[in-house]
Assembly symmetry: C2
Homo-oligomer: 166 residues x 2
């Protein structure tokens, strides 16, 4: 039996240095997915997101993340990702591809951009060609793939696990 | 540069044995959260969920999970959890508590029930007292806690990482 007291909203875990993880999103079909990713990013200590197209964040879903995470909106992601690579970021795509590494064994570069794909089309061929690395999450049951915000949460969790203090 | 081809909806990763992970949910405020958890569970190979109260799953969100995951609906979770413990399952709560272990260092029992909390109230004191173990996910930024379906996804991911073949 367990003898524990609930402590909702514990003090936050502090980072020794700012997170060097950036999350990049294409224009999703659903603003709900973007908003969920913004909340998760905020909870993971991520400070920046790079977003393409309309970037309408619902504060009911993103909560404080809507104000805490800086969204840099671009017409298209390619040039923004190239610029980040020039600043030393590794571009890590989250996608099922022919040569993707399994997230279970993947070691994240500390300075990384997590590049997400569109709900239906995934990461475009044009963006895939820009990436330094591709990771995927094993899927054991239908519908063959996780929702994009769910997959993003798993990848952000894995990054935080590897860099618990930033 | 990356030379990879997209392979959306790759063949599923197979398990050597059925998943011994069960997910338990209180009656959530939101059927969206329950439906998201059902999809994630299905993708993680989880076959059973134990759910309290109304358990309305939206197949638009849960997708194939709505048919693939068996939802066992109970008036309250306590008796169902006690029964599972009698069958050798360890009851693992996902909650911020005074003595919760960090998910990063936690070793899941293979035969486990992941017990989730209500969006606002978390896991009730009555259920907390039943648990064998409590784990929590470090939170680095506002709003102090992950959405329940997001936290559930991170915990299911961690379980699958530890038991990649079931």
């Amino acid at each position: 039996m367990n003898d524990s007291d609930q402590q909702r909203h514990k003090p936050l875990t502090t980072l020794d240095r700012p997170r060097e993880l950036i999350v990049a999103c294409p224009q999703f079909r659903s603003g709900v997915n973007l908003s969920r990713i913004v909340r998760t990013a905020s909870c993971c200590g991520v400070e920046r997101m790079v977003v393409s197209g309309r970037a309408k964040v619902d504060p009911e879903i993103a909560r404080d993340g809507a104000e805490r995470v800086r969204l840099e909106v671009h017409r298209s992601l390619g040039p923004a990702l190239k610029k980040l690579r020039g600043e030393g970021y590794k571009l890590v795509g989250l996608e099922q591809t022919s040569n993707a590494q399994c997230l279970y064994e993947f070691r994240f570069p500390q300075r990384a951009v997590l590049v997400l794909g569109h709900e239906r089309q995934g990461i475009s061929d044009e963006l895939l060609a820009l990436l330094d690395l591709v990771v995927e999450i094993p899927v054991y049951g239908l519908p063959y793939s996780h929702n994009v915000a769910t997959a993003a949460a798993m990848a952000m969790y894995e990054y935080c696990r590897q860099y618990p203090r930033g």
